[in-house]
């Protein structure tokens, strides 16, 4: 049951997933080339000083990429379901609606992770050639909130898309926007150090919101 559902989602999304994956990795690769270029045309000391004292991080441009990917995947996965009320069928499977829904979400989150991590690994790996280990810890502390933001974005998208009534969709949209902004308040580096844990916990808690929506969906509100 579990396996088959996962597989169904995979079949549904693999093409898009592949696309997102390639886009993300390609972009990160491009950033790495840019880094190489920066080191070829500038003094290493200058680049380091820029990083340490001015907070110049070559990967800062991809701050919002995880967010974007999360939203896109969320839409791709759940818009079709809602348009043609296919989700109904799934929800009436023997294993109960919230379990069924959770499996969908797990599938999505796994794919998302499989998109993010290679890119991050690439950046971490390449930058190790040019920067001391301090940079990696720095990268982790700065990048993690953006990743969490991406996952949060995915869950909140599902939350909003699955909600049957329009009025609440709007409310959820605002809610999501307000919440997601908190993941992107970084403007130097390591600022999130002290709230990282709570941020992670908040993100994981978001998992239940889509379940609420599916519940209402199953109840057939607003239709």
């Amino acid at each position: 049951m579990f396996k088959s559902l996962l597989y169904k989602e995979w079949i549904k999304l693999r093409l898009y997933w592949l696309l997102l994956f390639v886009v993300n990795v390609a972009f990160c690769g491009f950033l790495c080339l840019r880094l190489r270029h920066v080191f070829r045309v500038n003094e290493a000391v200058a680049v380091w000083s820029n990083w340490i004292f001015k907070g110049y991080l070559f990967y800062r441009i991809c701050e919002y990429v995880p967010l974007l990917l999360g939203v896109v995947l969320g839409c791709l996965q759940f818009f079709p379901e809602t348009l043609s009320k296919r989700l109904r069928l799934v929800l009436h499977l023997p294993l109960g609606e919230s379990r069924a829904a959770s499996i969908h979400l797990v599938a999505g989150l796994l794919m998302l992770a499989a998109v993010y991590l290679p890119g991050l690994a690439l950046i971490a790996g390449i930058s190790a050639f040019y920067f001391p280990p301090d940079f990696q810890s720095n990268l982790l502390l700065t990048y993690t909130p953006w990743l969490l933001g991406g996952f949060a974005a995915y869950l909140l998208t599902a939350f909003t898309v699955l909600e049957p009534t329009w009025r609440l969709r709007v409310v959820y949209l605002l809610f999501s926007a307000a919440l997601l902004r908190l993941f992107f308040m970084e403007d130097f580096y390591n600022s999130y150090l002290r709230v990282m844990l709570s941020l992670a916990i908040c993100t994981s808690l978001l998992f239940v919101f889509p379940l609420l929506s599916t519940h209402r969906f199953g109840k057939g509100y607003g239709s």
Binding site: W48, S49, F129, Y130, P132, L205, L212
Partner: protein, 418 residues
Amino acid sequence: MKTFARTLLFASGVILLAHYLPAGYWLLSAKMRRPPIVYYSCTEKQFMFFRYTNQTAIRMDAHGKVYEREEFERILPIDHWMQLLRDGKLPDTVGGVALTAEALRRERLSFRIKPTMIDTPSVNLTPLLDADTGRVRLEMPEDFMRLGATIEFIHAQTNVVEREKSALFQRAFAEAGFVFPATVLGGNPSTMKPYDEGYYVADATGATFHLRQLRGKPDIHRVSSLASAEDKPKWEALKPIYFHVQEQDTREVHAIIVDKSNQAWFAVGKNYRLVPIPLQHYDPARMSLVVRGDLINRLISATGEDSVEAVVLNRDYGLVDRYTEPLVPRAATPAGKLARAIFPFTLRFEDVSTGYLGVFTEVGSRIALLVNGGLLVLMLVWLGSRKQLRLSRLPDLLAVAIGGIYGVALVFLLPKAD
């Protein structure tokens, strides 16, 4: 499950509103608020002020007497010596001290310590300049120093650790009796300065060391061993949390030190004399400390949200005069009072005290409690009248009880319990 989801939704909703509503409120009702700039007149022996009142600047003394620009400048000759010199109004001497252009220029002194400087993210890599290259201009080294559980130097171009240099310094640290790991490091990694003071380091025991690089060789001393007999115990007792190093033409002040008890100190002169700054209300986490020195006095002012305090020391760091003025904090302005009445609490994630993000809460005034109570009652009545006073409504009621207007907003926005 779904009640849990709903409760969670309410909780996060309240948190978000508690962050955004007040922010929006202040976006609408914020006004220009600037604390006065404090001067000390070496001729009149009194404090002078430069105050902003609704967008216009006025100059006055402690008694509120307003001065014309020229008058003000005449009373503060040293702060405006260039102008006075140009107009030929600069007195030759003040209190027996001759005012010559180069002396004035050389003896000018200015430091500024903001709370964020003390607690802010930073990479533990920093250039250790060579303090004695024999050149007029300082030059950026090609490597960076990593001072933590050990001391290492990393060459930027090749991105590898420089073994022998690191070892050399490691030995020097050991000889100086430095106990790793280093806890506090303070320096001024810039080449745009008259000379290089190097770094001040506190080791694991809290003892303070002074580190410099002289022609490639390490030069590190336990400061207490350099200090004169009467300062020695002070240095040994000192538990620093922040070193502020900022080289000035007059090489008099080595560093400004803030210690665990929020006391600020000057480290002064050849034998590292340790001078306490006699401020009474200084809180490094909330106030910015400004030091302005000249031929005759040292003026230290600590400015916070709710007070300005200033002390004047003479060239021998003896207390000359002090001044304290309460400021109206934003929370005490009409807008602020209103805010604290309608918002039961406020959440911010950024704060002046630190460069790190965190959760910073401010609770509202007592009136806010009344507001909450009122709203709760109304809510109960409303639900009761519509025969909906059920247990599943508990989250809503809690939200209102705790969140006041936030709660009410949510009850109407979020999905009903069924």
